[in-house]
Symmetry: C4
Subunit: 243 residues, 4 copies
């Protein structure tokens, strides 16, 4: 008969796995309830079912938090741990906002998705991703830095050209940053578009240099992941003690 | 003189190849008829020619289905097979909707395009694609998972910021998912655009992290295909019996 | 003293190089004249200068064509060659449309840009590009095929969903192909956007699968070019006669 | 006690590093002031604080320039150097425009960001980037050339098709270049969209060939960076004197 501590904190006993699975199911259900609850055309019955379920989930998560504090030795160990803070942040807003409109408060349960990160710990692909990030670390930082500089220069530049023609859209460097981001990621909503000849010529220049720079990091990660896999295969092929 | 069974089921006799070619030609013609038939400005003559051709194709496909059932031993073998179900689904709606408007029904013939997959079976590039997918399987799953999480978090987040400013466009998480998908794939139609300062700042954040994540899988497939080709070349270079 | 034949057909004598350079300069100037001539706000003086220059270029290109025919042995050899046809197509429309509006006719001189391809023949990067295309040939064909199928299926699918809601924009499969292309390449102008729930759900599906497929070929070319360069380096490093 | 020359020109003494850090902090603060100053809704107090800070920064940069000229031997050495010209260009406009509206003049301080390039000199990733650019130099030039040709041909082509239908947007080849750039980089604002059947068919063609070409260079840089890293690792692994 496993102890409460083993059920909650360990994942390699049948009871531990069952507890984890129940916990994750509740998180997923609670996210589904959040999604459905955002529909404006819900019947009062559906809405009260969702509210009841939310209350149930809140009770469960509060109980889980209390239990985890209780079995932790020393108690402050869990309270001050990363997951302890996450778990508290996911339930605290409900108690603080009691009686008020809960709609904004509900999104805090997204924080619980961070719990899924625990699943990633044992995953080989995540390990290789870490190797890949280490391999390409400096290049990624370099290109992210170049992206930041490019976004800033594009914002200041377009501000000079379009400031007077379109004060509503390009009136400050902050507004221009919106344009720069939407343009350089090639999203191009069309809500902020340069109309002066100077602004358009500047945009051509920015696109020619910037679009390439911004898409290099993704290619770097893909390349480094392939390299990390090869390193991994090679090291697992080599028998220990050889070379 | 080949038997009916050999003509229909085998592809390495001249008669089998002729049957396959006739079948594929009919599928392509039937898709062309579907495409032209969607034009609203067709003359009655053209439309009746298309309708006649559609009837002809239907008779052919029904006959082919009957023949394939007839020669299959045991008969339920083909009826229950993957291609048996596809072939039935491609003709059944015509009989069920007899006398009604056939426009929606016609699209079911798209299912016949799956027949072309058979051509792929003998293709070296498809084999290498399979190798590449196996090589990069875990990474691709990881990044598709990250994409799904990113889309969901972006939807819930923008819902918080834009819900009140634009209830028509960002009123529910489902509507926000449309925005999230159109934005993160960088399509950016411009029909759903955040206008609040908070929503725009959140979008900048989402774009900075998300656009990269969503384009990594394509790079992974390209990299893994190159690796698969190298593996292939190396294994075909190595003479049998060596290391 | 080089013969006329050597000047025109060869590129390794000083006179041949001078002739080629003059020819290429004239092509570039003629393209600049075409570009400036498209401005609607030109003064009559500028326009007559451009027209004079166009006449001059036409005379030069016609003379060049006549000379090339004259020195070719047998004469039909050049007339029927690829560059002979290109050169004729670039000047013929001027004579056919004599006295009529020349604006459309002028674009035919773009064909002369194909002459620049000759420069590419001696370029190492072009040779490696050819190696890369050969290496990745089957994969590129496979993904271009998948792109074509994806575009077609997306067009037929969205036609089903949006046909009735937006007959102006999604009325035929051909109109839907415009939407499919603009969406799958992530251009997303915003002139054709699905508005029905079904159409949007279908678009999400198409984007999830299609955007990746359409960007794999570019990654393949980039990867194969890197591989081609490595093959090249290795073969040039290895001394002849060694393993 | 270090000399003034050592403080300003060297970076490996504590005083030199302190001077550099102060200089860089002032540049960053001056950029922040530029960004905040672009907001139109600033209170008079904030604006006068920013103006005071700008004056302070101007005095500092002028003093720094004077000092650098003073300690340089011979004096024209620094004045005519790359950084000397940059530093002068960043302060000169203030003196030339004294008493006039300073808004446009302020952007010149962006030039000072080039000073940060000095930081890059000691960075390993920048060195590998240089190796990568050298490795893929010819391929990158080839694809940039192809991009330029593609942009030009797309502009001239769409001008033919849309010139009469939309003279405001596609009236000249220069205006069409804006469309070509926005389309081929897949930004797709939606302010210039072909509406004729011919123009749309041409756009499909351009997208099919052009979108791939324009995204190859980024993939090439990513691939070459991975290759440069491997070359680097291999050369640093090999002990001196071995093979």
């Amino acid at each position: 008969m496993p102890t409460l501590k083993q059920i909650i904190e360990e994942t390699d006993t049948p009871e531990g796995r069952a507890f984890d699975l129940a916990n994750q199911t509740l998180i997923v259900l609670s996210l589904i309830s959040l999604t459905i609850g955002s529909l404006t055309s819900l019947s009062p019955t559906t809405r009260s079912i969702l509210n009841l379920f939310d209350l149930f989930a809140l009770v469960c998560f509060t109980l889980e938090y209390a239990l985890r504090v209780f079995i932790s030795t020393p108690r402050r160990h869990y309270v001050l741990s990363f997951f302890g803070i996450i778990d508290l942040l996911a339930i605290l807003p409900y108690f603080l906002a009691w009686g008020m409109d809960l709609r904004s408060v509900r999104s805090f349960r997204l924080l619980r998705m961070i719990r899924f990160l625990k699943l990633a710990r044992y995953n080989a692909a995540v390990r290789r991703l870490r190797t890949a990030m280490l391999l390409a670390r400096e290049e990624i930082v370099l290109f992210l830095g170049a992206t930041a500089v490019m976004l800033y220069v594009a914002s200041v530049g377009i501000h000079q050209f379009e400031r007077e023609a379109q004060p509503e859209t390009f009136g400050s460097v902050f507004q221009c940053l919106w344009w720069a981001m939407v343009t350089l990621t090639t999203v191009g909503y069309g809500d902020a578009v340069p109309i002066t000849t100077g602004g358009r010529a500047f945009t051509l220049l920015v696109l020619l240099t910037g679009v390439g720079i911004i898409s290099v990091p993704a290619g770097l990660v893909a390349s480094a992941l392939t390299q990390a896999r090869e390193l991994n295969d090679r090291s697992s092929e080599t028998p220990p003690g050889s070379t």
